[in-house]
Point group: C2
Chain length 345, copies 2
């Protein structure tokens, strides 16, 4: 990255909102940061039409035509054969070839992960990359959780490495000095859970001088209580937990809507409560926590929610920008050396 001039490769065709949403998101970022530059990959005509609608974007975008698009139904194994011709694949290749500092896509997660792994390769010292996301809490800081689904099965070393990567992410994106890291488990006592989790805890307890504070296990009913800055888990459990949070939040707000429309009196109450309920919606809106990252690759790839709006896309681009500026890979490498020494001993 040219100092202070981040260059983001954008898959303009990904997500439910397509080029209109992606370009509007980029425009929001450009309006705040005139130094940012974008390469937009996708249907040239469609993208140019959208770019024309946003004055702020004009001077800082380059459009590169991509003849093909990855759909939500495409299997990862098929998608990787189309890396060179798709908007998603071409954005990743721009990172690989040093033409961009990070890639952002709102497209098919499995395809994005498979393409990114294949094109960028896993960084030295990391056995497996992980998908890290941000969740709201009632505490001072938002929470980083990983892995959210890149690896269905993990060993203790994988989990310890995720802890290091997640802590670096928390420090850079959330701004926590010494992140409190916990392993997701089905009990908080030391003997709970699987051998893998107990071994990972052992590795983290023994490792010294890590840029994190390991604080044992956490149960999933405490996710949002602000008792951890980073929660580490395998991709299966992480995906289950993340989607259960999303589903339950929607469940409760649906119930709330039903309750509020159940009588004239409660409808009146609803009108009076609107500003309060608006606060609730803001707090639960996934657009405010948008931007999950594949950590542990030789290059930055950020995944936006498929249903993101321009505000959400701007947040995902913001995450990419911060991680690129702060050189997250270097920070992770420092801590990894610690873990590697301990695991070998």
């Amino acid at each position: 990255m040219t100092a202070g001039k981040p260059l983001i490769a954008l898959d303009a065709m990904g997500g439910d909102g397509g080029p209109a949403m992606t370009v509007a998101g980029a425009a929001r970022v450009a309006a705040r940061d005139p130094n940012i530059r974008f390469i937009l990959f996708g249907d040239e005509g469609l993208i140019a039409a959208e770019v024309a609608r946003h004055k702020a974007l004009g001077p800082c975008v380059e459009i590169v035509h991509a003849p093909d698009v990855i759909s939500g139904e495409d299997r990862p194994s098929q998608a990787i054969r189309r890396t060179k011709t798709t908007s998603m694949g071409m954005a990743i290749l721009a990172v690989k070839e040093g033409r961009a500092d990070a890639a952002v896509s709102a497209g098919n997660t499995g395809a994005l992960m498979a393409m990114s792994k294949l094109a960028l390769r896993t960084m030295a010292g990391i056995d497996r990359p992980a998908l890290a996301g941000i969740l709201p809490t009632l505490g001072k800081h938002n929470l980083v959780m990983l892995d959210l689904g890149a690896n269905t099965e993990c060993d203790a070393r994988n989990l310890a490495q995720f802890a290091v990567m997640g802590a670096a992410y928390s420090k850079i994106v959330i701004g926590v000095d010494l992140p409190r890291v916990r392993l997701l488990n089905i009990g908080s006592e030391e003997m709970k859970g699987t051998d893998t989790i107990r071994d990972a805890a052992q590795l983290l307890r023994e490792a010294e001088h890590l840029h994190l504070s390991f604080e044992g296990f956490i149960e999933s009913d405490r996710l949002g209580r602000g008792e951890a800055d980073v929660i580490v888990t395998d991709g299966f459990s992480g995906n289950i937990a993340l989607k259960t949070v999303e589903g339950t939040a929607r469940f409760v707000t649906d119930l709330l809507r039903r309750a509020f429309t159940s009588s004239f009196r409660s409808k009146m109450g609803f009108l009076l409560s609107k500003p309060a309920l608006h606060l609730l919606r803001v707090h639960l809106d996934p657009n405010n926590y948008n931007g999950a990252v594949f950590l542990g690759l030789n290059g930055l790839v950020v995944k936006s929610h498929g249903g993101a709006n321009p505000h959400g896309m701007a947040n995902a681009i913001g995450v990419a920008k911060k991680l690129a500026a702060e050189r997250i890979a270097d920070r992770i490498a420092e801590d990894l050396a610690q873990i590697a020494t301990k695991a070998a001993a």
Copy 2:
């Protein structure tokens, strides 16, 4: 069970509410069903004092003194040595020895599970028992989910057996004729998830004449949408999902409370909305879904929430009563024969 005369063994000392809560719960059931009988295990003096406060209970309880109590901190491995002297253990032994139709406890889950397994043993055809619970949905029926934490790791055969047990539970306790069963997974496509889950799906697809309709995978953001009557998973993921639901529901209602107290206007709105918000609270109150069951044992043991109120305890006793009356073990055995034939083929 003497026909129509269910006899429930109650651990009167379990749970945060102790004998006062347990006895009050039993009294609620007795007020509705004069045929029910209880054996209350625990501190004789404390229990007798509570029983004296509930007229309905007098004619239908027997009190058996238990000198010892299992606490929330006791490890399962230590608890099992105290089966014969604790209120929890003695309630389970009453089931084992045929002196009661079911045991109900609000105490330490791990201890209850370990004691129950050791005393009652696993039923023929079942490799491992599972903990099954009930969750609210936006659909017509509540949902049965299992395993909620009895087995941290499971193979495909275990999961297929859980499906059969969960379906029997749904039929008897929820009243669903042909329960729609789904496996919890991190994607709904056939190739998603671990080998274990895909193999379990294969077993369930191939088994014929089961008393259930197997409908593939479900993701955890769809738990409460009414798209399944039974959701099957290993105890680790199930515990994560269940506790994430509980934690997120509390998170959202905490946010709501904050929102409602943020201004005078929203406080007024809150007052007007009280009946609506009451409905919400009823729908989310775990007391209304109380009573998780250890399925697959030679004998019925029901776990109540530790924080249950008398209404919740009455619901847990109600679950025990229904399962005993409908002879759930026989229904499970029929379907198991199907699975066993397929797995051996």
